[in-house]
């Protein structure tokens, strides 16, 4: 599947395109097929996302998983500071990244 990510223009937070809006949770990401660049053009003009790009991902039993480790780290947070990730209480969250 293809999904869209970027950073929130004002806060810099990592965000994912849900099909209608943006979410900070990668599991909300929608498969955009071949429409990624069109969506980004519209969203860029809407001034919500900064540096948006389309990436490969797969839907697994644990939810949407970006293909590249860089985007998995973006989705969770720094592996060396689990307390600052989106799943600070999950001791296995780091394994999802690797």
């Amino acid at each position: 599947m293809k999904i869209i990510t970027g950073n929130d223009l004002k806060t810099g937070a990592v965000i994912w395109w849900t099909g209608q809006d943006w979410s900070i949770h990668v599991e909300d990401a929608a498969d955009v097929g071949d429409h990624g660049e069109q969506i980004l053009a519209v969203e860029d003009a809407a001034l919500r996302v900064n540096g948006g790009y389309v990436i490969d991902a797969e839907r697994t039993a644990e939810g949407v998983r970006p293909a590249h480790i860089k985007d998995r780290i973006r989705a969770l947070g720094p592996t060396v500071r689990p307390d600052l990730t989106l799943k600070p209480a999950d001791p296995n969250a780091g394994n999802w990244v690797i």
Binding site: N7, D44, N50, A67, T79
Partner: protein, 544 residues
Amino acid sequence: MYRYDKYDQAMVDARVEDFRDQTRRRIAGQMTDDQFKPLRLKNGLYLQLHAYMLRVAIPYGTLNSTQMRKLAHIARTYDRGYGHFTTRQNIQYNWIKLEQAPDILAELATVEMHAIQTSGESIRNVSADHYAGATADEVIDPRPWAEMLRQMTTFMPEFSYLPRKFKIAVIAAEEDRAAMRWHDFGLRIVKNDAGEIGFEVYPGGGMGRTPFIAYKARDFLPQHQIFSYLQAVLRVWNRHARRDNIHKQRMKILVHELGEEEFTRQVEEAFQHILKLGSDFPQAEYDRIAAYFAPPPFETRLSDEIDRSDPDFAVWVDQNVAAHKAPGYAIANISLKPIKGIGGDITAEQMEVVADLAERYSFDELRAAHTQNLVLPHVRKQDLYAVWQALVEAGLADANLDLVTDIIACPGLDYCSLANARSIPVAQKIAERFADEARQKDIGELKIKISGCINACGHHHAGHIGILGVDRKGTENYQLLLGGSGDENTTQAKITGPGFDEDGIVDAVERAVEHYRGIREPGERFLDTYRRVGMDGFKEAIYG
């Protein structure tokens, strides 16, 4: 230390308001990202993996307690309670919101700090020996010249749109503690036979994907001609630089392509012309700036004795305390490399402890070292025990300066959008592997430096042991390098062979270290042994 005059303050304040307006216009959609990006970069604001990152300049690594407390306040108020000291004596914050960035810059301006030219194609923060003004082996304090170079190169139109970034380092001692020859423009202050002060000039260095060690272009440049010489260097670079190819824009590439002799010839030609324009500082201006760096009022008749009856304190003194030029004083290094921590990271609370110690025990002075540690430059030996006790309480008393666990590491793929692999977890695993204090002491001085990509922010080219993280078909892979150095005998590390995964690189480092322990001669450091025997034996030990 230098204090802003009304012109400095007015310029920095005006810059804050400029950026506030630029940010407002970007958020309002009156500016595209392509238009805004070079403006935010000139103010040290990057977009990284998880948020915006703000890099704050600490000129030549010198700051006072008021500034450190402000850095703590920013960490607590605008970030997530911590900051990260970098390999160029700066500090950066990882979780900045664009809409708050102008407010942060305004706060910094109240304590004579800014983020100007900490990114972008400009002359970056001038770095210097972090023992400047405290060590006995310097000719003069290099910071007045570092400050003058900072003033010369800030906002100067000719230097504002350079082909690429340009880094300057200034030292004044035989021992190079600033990796001077790994800079675009390295300067060593020397005294000639007539007792005159001048510079050895080293242009053309730099790390990154194409590393070069700066060469000596001048044995002695009279000190008051330095600005003309720097202009000449920049003009030759500006004239020929490959602005069409980002990988060839750094000055080191031009020096390599023209050749040292031809580059020097063109610089000298330009220099003779610029010198006549009379744009160098007069002596009176040097004297005015130098007065800010006058030595603090050291007490006399202090004892050089240190009560070493507490064995843990004695270990710290032996490893982290360096000789000071004034009798009865010492230089106290604060390691930011706890075994399970993140190198260079420091919490807001720890910043405040360090600020308090600087105010109480070090004439209100602090230094940030390019090794991602901090320094209290002027501590009475009789106060060292109290300083150490406070550091213990704050979790800042690791006695590992220059040892195998004092690892330089860039933020890597945990934070950086350019990185290919994570650096910090590798540093942590190596540190844990060598955590035993007796083993560290037995190994002795060993500088491990880790970069998460070829941009080399973790200085892997200069590591006794260097590690470079690469992306191999979507997975992290680590190349091992040996034999680099950033000291006065600067050398570039060489790759040992095929790379390793994260656990494999830790094992490989251990095999290299154990090989050294097995073959070293009395008094040899790891680097000495490597230089004596060469790569082959190490390679065999590492790969079997």
